[in-house]
């Protein structure tokens, strides 16, 4: 069976970096990789998702509904949304605990979920929840590195080790603010 990772966040957070680094790490770990990103209009502060499927029996690029082993989210509400759509029983939601209010919340039409509420709703699906946040991040795009660091520490996926993820992050960033990102990675990995 394919191992499925569903990545989500808010358009503009840079989930493309996360998807690219995970793809590189997965290949380095010997997996056949298939995946798919969101492009276009949804990138403008809407919900965005990216898909990663490991293993030769995954022929199509998107994680089917309810079949994600891991949901990785860059924001709390998107983590909940991603888990409700994609997480399979026994899977894990790992999210970076930051809050971007959508219009429906700012205008008082809807409530923004608390961390406890997210955990409870994920538990109802038969899933587990983990969250990470790192103090003093200078650029919000480094939240990607924090998520990867914690993913490595939790050992949730075959081959996503500290070594493969760290070097994949370095490869993906190609020198851009690399030291600061690796520091965030290490801090989140603990």
């Amino acid at each position: 069976m394919a191992f499925n990772v569903y990545i989500c966040g808010v358009g503009g957070q840079g989930i493309g970096v996360l998807a690219a680094a995970l793809s590189t790490a997965a290949e380095a770990a010997g997996h056949e990789v298939r995946g798919c990103d969101t492009h276009g209009l949804a990138q403008r502060h809407g919900s965005v998702s990216s898909h990663l499927r490991l293993g030769g029996d995954a022929l199509t690029p998107r994680v089917p509904e309810g079949q994600a082993d891991i949901v990785l989210a860059l924001e709390r509400l998107e983590g909940l949304r991603g888990a409700l759509y994609a997480l399979k029983p026994g899977g894990t939601l790992l999210y970076y605990d930051t809050v971007y209010q959508p219009v429906t919340v700012r205008t008082g039409l809807r409530a923004y979920p608390s961390a406890e509420k997210v955990e409870a709703q994920v538990a109802e699906l038969g899933g587990k929840t983990a969250r990470v946040s790192v103090e003093g991040i200078s650029d919000p795009r480094m939240q990607n590195a924090a998520l990867l660091g914690r993913l490595a520490a939790l050992g949730l996926a075959p081959g996503f080790t500290r070594e493969t993820l760290r070097s994949a992050l370095a490869d993906t960033l190609g020198g851009r603010a690399l030291e600061a990102n690796l520091a965030v990675f290490d801090k989140a990995a603990g």
Binding site: A20, S23, R34, G35, H39, P102, L109, P113
Partner: protein, 626 residues
């Protein structure tokens, strides 16, 4: 990760993890393509990004983003008439714009070969409909190949280019959104040695090239003959793939193509079902002998496809014509004709015919739906400032017409500006129609500047000639923002700058105001004046795309810390204009009722400062930028 420059210029064979659009661009270089043209539209613009990835002096090909899809198609056709292999690419609905010339192409002897690449969008991920362009293949007598993966996109482009050049006919390559954007490892070939020259080989003797009454029938005969010849090639093509049932010889079969075919293969494997899957490479013309063999060797066949009943209709007709006893199943529900195929959906559809082998997946457990997050205008967007001003200036009952672009999002709360939309460039003429016989409700149409050049100019000329009593608000941000900032005609990034005000004056527009979109009082005054003007009036609301502006500023100065605004808590009277009406995503409303500014989102543009009735939004000291 491989850079776009390396992808496009590396001479030897290599392998890379890449998306469908990039694989396609590399395939163009491998095929020795000379000319590529496009108009940006999801899901295809990344093909253009890759083609532009090679420095201009190292490109063996010419590439441009043209003014619209029809211009792009004609330019590629012209190059092919001169003997140069060409390709054009655009999104699904772009083919409607190009159709007037496309429909003639099969009658032309395209001596260089030409591939028309379509980015169809089942699921309407980023389009105003999910039109099924497979119908166009039948109508235009142009064969259609359908890759399902980045690897196949590369391979089928090479095949399409080779056959197109040999038979001197156009060929469609139809991708769908999640083929364009799928990522996998692709094996690339070397670039050809020695680029083909630019010798102009056009010769009317290769034609005739002018279809008029007397020449139409021989030209059509030739088009039909080439179509049949293409079909014979596809009947024996190795690009068709058979996925045999793991359980051995099967009495059940599935016929499909593109990504739905791979969904079928996954559904069969997951169910352990005794069914063979025939994945067709070419969906027009259909490989009739191969299909007849498959139908004859299976007792029951399910035709699985996205959108319209295109394969189904042809395959049922084939079974009828050949007197085959095979039972042909197809999708049952109206909902099956909508949205994009997934392996679980494929299983559910197959279960409707073969419940003993397939099970519809159980529905997700009921859960409280989380708050929706729709796309929004970016912080600092000039469109937001314009909408905020226009909304306040409109009289009750006014009708606002949207066009295509980032500003289409204005129809959503809280702006609700632009509440009817048909297509690129429609807004002026639809607005003019809404104004006919209407003296009680003002009509205001919105339009972006890329769309202005794309398809709105004939409508504007019509509005001038008929002096239609509408106001056009031209939202000028200087780019094609929604699809990723491709240069648009007239910016000066490509060719000469075309100043919009001078162009509008030359077109005969008599009432014209040109206002900075951040100056909301001035914009509102101009709009009121325009609406009072009897006849056609234009107000340009001008502000550069701030997403592009900030990206460029950060690229020039990586350490840039944008300035920010803040809410003075002592002054804030909790009107909530900033969060609920102006609605910049940077404002955060807390449970206790206070409002603050999200430090990760604010770019310090300050367009919000003027909107606060309590003057509580202030610019923070320090920071750089605007």
């Amino acid at each position: 990760m491989i850079s776009l420059k390396e992808l496009m210029t590396r001479r030897d064979a290599f392998t890379g993890l890449t998306m469908g659009n990039y694989a396609l661009a590399r395939a163009m270089a491998e095929a020795g393509l000379k000319v590529a043209t496009s108009y940006p539209g999801s899901p295809t613009p990344e093909i253009g990004a890759a083609l532009l990835g090679a420095p201009e002096e190292e490109r063996p090909y010419y590439f441009e983003f043209s003014t619209n899809e029809k211009v792009a198609l004609e330019k590629a056709a012209g190059a092919s008439l001169n003997g140069h292999l060409s390709a054009c690419f655009f999104k699904s609905v772009g083919l409607n714009v190009a159709a007037d010339s496309l429909i003639q192409l099969s009658m032309m002897e395209l001596i260089g070969g030409m591939v028309v690449i379509l980015g169809d969008d089942p699921g309407a991920n980023s389009s105003q409909n999910e039109q099924d362009n497979r119908h166009f293949a039948r109508m235009s007598y142009i064969p259609m190949l359908e890759p399902a993966t980045p690897r196949e996109a590369r391979g089928m482009f090479l095949e399409a280019a080779a056959v197109s050049r040999r038979l001197r006919m156009p060929v469609f390559l139809r991708l769908t959104t999640h083929v364009c954007h799928a990522r996998e490892r692709v094996d690339f070939g070397p670039l050809p040695d020695g680029a083909a020259g630019w010798e102009p080989g056009f010769d009317p003797k290769n034609g005739p090239y002018v279809p008029v009454a007397a020449t139409v029938f021989p030209l059509k005969e030739k088009a039909l003959r080439k179509q049949d010849e293409f079909g014979r090639l596809m009947d024996v093509s190795a690009m068709n793939r058979l996925f045999p049932a793991a359980s051995g010889p099967a009495r059940l079969g599935i016929v499909s193509a593109g990504l739905p075919a791979l969904c079928a293969v996954e559904a069969v494997a997951a169910a352990g079902a005794p069914a063979d899957v025939l994945k067709l490479a070419c969906t027009w013309p259909l490989p009739s002998e191969k299909l007849a063999d498959f139908l004859a060797s299976h007792e029951e066949v399910f035709v699985l496809e996205d959108l319209d009943r295109v394969l189904e209709t042809e395959i049922k007709a084939l079974a009828f014509d050949r007197g085959l006893k095979c039972r042909v199943h197809s999708r049952k529900e109206r909902s099956d004709l909508m949205g994009e195929m997934t392996p679980p959906r494929a299983a559910a559809m197959l279960a409707s015919a073969w419940p003993e082998h397939f099970k519809a997946p159980p529905p997700r457990p009921a859960a409280e739906e989380p708050a929706a997050r729709l796309p929004q205008l970016c912080p600092g967007c000039g469109h937001r400032s314009a909408f905020h001003a226009v909304k306040r200036a409109l009289p009750p009952g006014a009708i606002t017409v949207a066009d295509i672009g980032c500003h289409s999002m204005g129809f959503m709360p809280p702006y609700e500006m632009g509440t009817v939309l048909l297509s690129m460039g429609h807004s002026v003429s639809t607005g003019a129609g809404l104004a006919l016989g209407n003296s009680s409700r003002k009509v205001v149409s919105f339009l972006g500047d890329s769309t202005f050049f794309h398809a709105a100019m004939p409508g504007i000329v019509n509005a001038v000639v008929q002096d239609s009593d509408i106001t056009l608000v031209l939202l000028e941000n200087g780019t094609t923002a929604m699809t990723g900032h491709q240069p648009r005609a007239g910016t000066g990034e490509i060719g000469d700058k075309i100043p919009l005000p001078r162009l509008l004056e030359a077109m005969g527009v008599k009432f014209l105001r040109d206002v900075e979109a951040y100056k909301q009082a001035e914009l509102a005054a101009a709009l009121k004046e325009a609406m009072d003007h009897k006849g056609f009036a234009v107000v340009i609301a001008r502000h550069p795309c701030m997403l592009k502006f900030m990206r460029e500023a950060k690229a020039r100065n990586p350490g840039l810390k944008p300035s920010r605004v803040a809410v003075d808590q002592a002054k804030c009277a909790r009107h909530y204009t900033c969060v609920a009406e102006f609605a910049c995503p940077s404002f955060v409303k807390h449970d206790a009722g206070s409002v603050t500014v999200h430090p990760e989102l604010c770019i310090g543009d300050g367009s919000c400062v003027q909107t606060c009735p309590a003057a509580a939004i202030v610019r923070e000291k320090g920071g750089e930028g605007k």
